[in-house]
Amino acid sequence: MTPFDRQVRAQIYRLIAGGALSVDALVIANSRGWDTPEVESSLNRLANEHTIALLENAYRVWMAHPFSGVETSYQAVIGGQSWYANCAWDVLAILALLGDGEARASGPADQLVWKVEDGQVSPPGIVHLLVPAKNFWDDVGFT
């Protein structure tokens, strides 16, 4: 990563962790007074390196793991704040990063809620991964 790419990547996380949804090149550029085309180029490099994922044909962040840049069925909630995650692993990871709270997963018929408090996940539950680790980025959306 170039030094600028590092700054852009960190700013993406700052914005999303701070509660922003719909983080795109313009939002990133405006937040720091950067040139939008330079941010777009940086986003492309970061996506090519599988550091982030962009929505197709857009300069909008789709994934900055463990955060999702779009609404999903997985939501981490701490106090009055919430963040979307990409999957069950990531919703737990957001709490591992940010602190105790709830990991919520919504399905067509029901909702799963795990509470994380003092490093303990309750109730006990399982996470299933379909795609082997070496193939995570073959189709990161499917993963």
Binding site: P66, V127, L129, P132
Partner: protein, 62 residues
């Protein structure tokens, strides 16, 4: 879980406890939001998985 996967035609994949994934995430995502974050090497990544009992071909990166 196995019955659902077999009925749906999906591969078995890997199943572990939510607690395991939560604890592994602390190592996996450590420093992720920092400007200085570096992608771990394949060896480091596999060591993180292994530290939390995530072993076998499913977790191999090489």
């Amino acid at each position: 879980m196995k019955r659902w996967l077999l009925q749906s035609g999906k591969d078995l994949g890997y199943v572990a406890s939510a607690q395991t994934f939560f604890e592994m995430s602390k190592d996996w995502y450590a420093g992720r939001m920092d400007e200085t974050w570096e992608r771990p090497t394949l060896e480091t990544a596999e060591a993180i998985f292994s530290k939390h009992g995530l072993t076998g071909d499913f977790w191999k990166l090489n």
